[in-house]
């Protein structure tokens, strides 16, 4: 690609990203969602964040699914989920989850 095309690519990507994010905030005064849509949006965090986490944990690298305790990402994720469920606190979840991940990786020797 020429330099002009690279510039066009970047400009276009920037515009697309803004076009997705900005209109909802821009027209916030005029737009009210129907109640059913509002109730649907309440599920966005749980659904989308879980859809990000689960494949990232089960497919830590290219290739087959790693649904085994020898997968340190899975071990760390399970520990983090238990900690979060029990104490409902964010920082301990992050620290203990990371610690479990590094420990599992060291023990497994991956």
């Amino acid at each position: 690609m020429s330099e002009l095309e690279i510039a066009l690519m970047i400009g276009g990507m920037a515009v697309i990203n803004l076009a997705i994010r900005w209109p909802v905030y821009l027209f916030a005064d005029h737009v009210r969602f129907p109640p059913l849509v509002e109730r649907a949006l309440a599920f966005v965090p749980v659904a989308v964040l879980t859809a990000i986490i689960v494949p990232a944990v089960l497919y830590p690298s290219e290739g087959d699914i790693q649904l085994t305790w020898r997968n340190p990402y899975l071990v760390g994720a399970v520990v983090a989920a238990v900690v979060s469920w029990k104490w409902q606190k964010l920082m301990p979840t992050i620290l203990i989850g990371m610690a479990a991940f590094f420990l599992a990786r060291w023990l497994i020797g991956a």
Partner: protein, 243 residues
């Protein structure tokens, strides 16, 4: 924009809350800078992408597609599909930014990422809005943005010498942070169903291009949770009508 003490406290707390996610973005920023430079882009072009596009997944796909000689239209379409979930994020948070001026709303939209969405959704759910909560939001945005610029730059400068960073496992900080945000949000059965369906569908769709599996998983989860909730509501309403 003068910062009152309340605003400064919110800003500081927003930055602290975002810190783990900034750490988890380090390897991605470095690898992006390295990869994009290796693909033949000038340092100016690589930096411009991080500065103006500011979307890790879209930036990575663009480099990949560039390498395979894809036309511009395909790269733009991929950007659109990859980032559609941000429309849902904005719609979820919009109630909390409605009272802000347009300058604020522009930047809080432009800098909205997965990470900042997760942080702000939790903040509003746990603490409510608060008169200065937008400073918390801004801190999360600025933290993620400046962090991304810095590590992209490091990736460009150090390129190959810093390759090792992808084996450190720092990116796992994002998974545990998101877990810490999702678990307390599982308030009732419909939310559990939403999470399970979303995770299952996203895993099954993992091989699909442009992270379509993620989008399908998200939508399937939302629909499943909503369907169960509506069904329960209707059944309960029906029972109340009966003597």
């Amino acid at each position: 924009m003068s910062a009152t003490p309340g605003a400064r406290a919110e800003f500081g707390r927003g930055l602290v809350a975002t810190l783990p996610l900034m750490i988890s973005a380090i390897p991605f920023g470095v690898i992006f800078g390295t990869l994009a430079t290796g693909a033949g882009l000038s340092p100016l072009a690589v930096m411009s992408m991080s500065l103006f596009v500011f979307s890790g997944s879209a930036q990575f796909i663009a480099i990949l597609l560039l390498g395979s000689g894809s036309p511009l239209g395909v790269i733009w379409l991929a950007t659109l599909i990859l980032n559609l979930r941000h429309l849902l994020y904005a719609a979820t948070l919009v109630d909390h930014v409605r009272s802000l001026g347009h300058g604020w709303r522009f930047w809080l939209a432009a800098w909205l990422t997965d990470e900042t969405f997760a942080i702000m959704e939790r903040r509003y759910r746990v603490e409510g809005r608060g008169p200065q909560a937008h400073w918390y939001y801004l801190a999360s945005c600025l933290g993620m943005y400046l962090n991304w610029q810095f590590w992209t730059y490091i990736g460009i400068v150090l390129a190959t010498e810093f390759e090792e960073i992808k084996h450190w496992g720092l990116e796992f900080a994002m998974a545990v942070t998101f877990i810490g945000i999702v678990m307390p949000a599982l308030r009732s059965r419909p939310y559990w169903v939403a999470a399970i369906v979303a995770g299952l569908v996203a895993t099954l769709g993992n091989g699909l291009p442009y992270k379509l599996g993620l989008m399908l998983g998200g939508f399937a989860g939302i629909l499943a949770g909503l369907a169960l909730q509506e069904w329960t509501r209707r059944r309960n309403r029906g029972e109340r009508v009966l003597p």
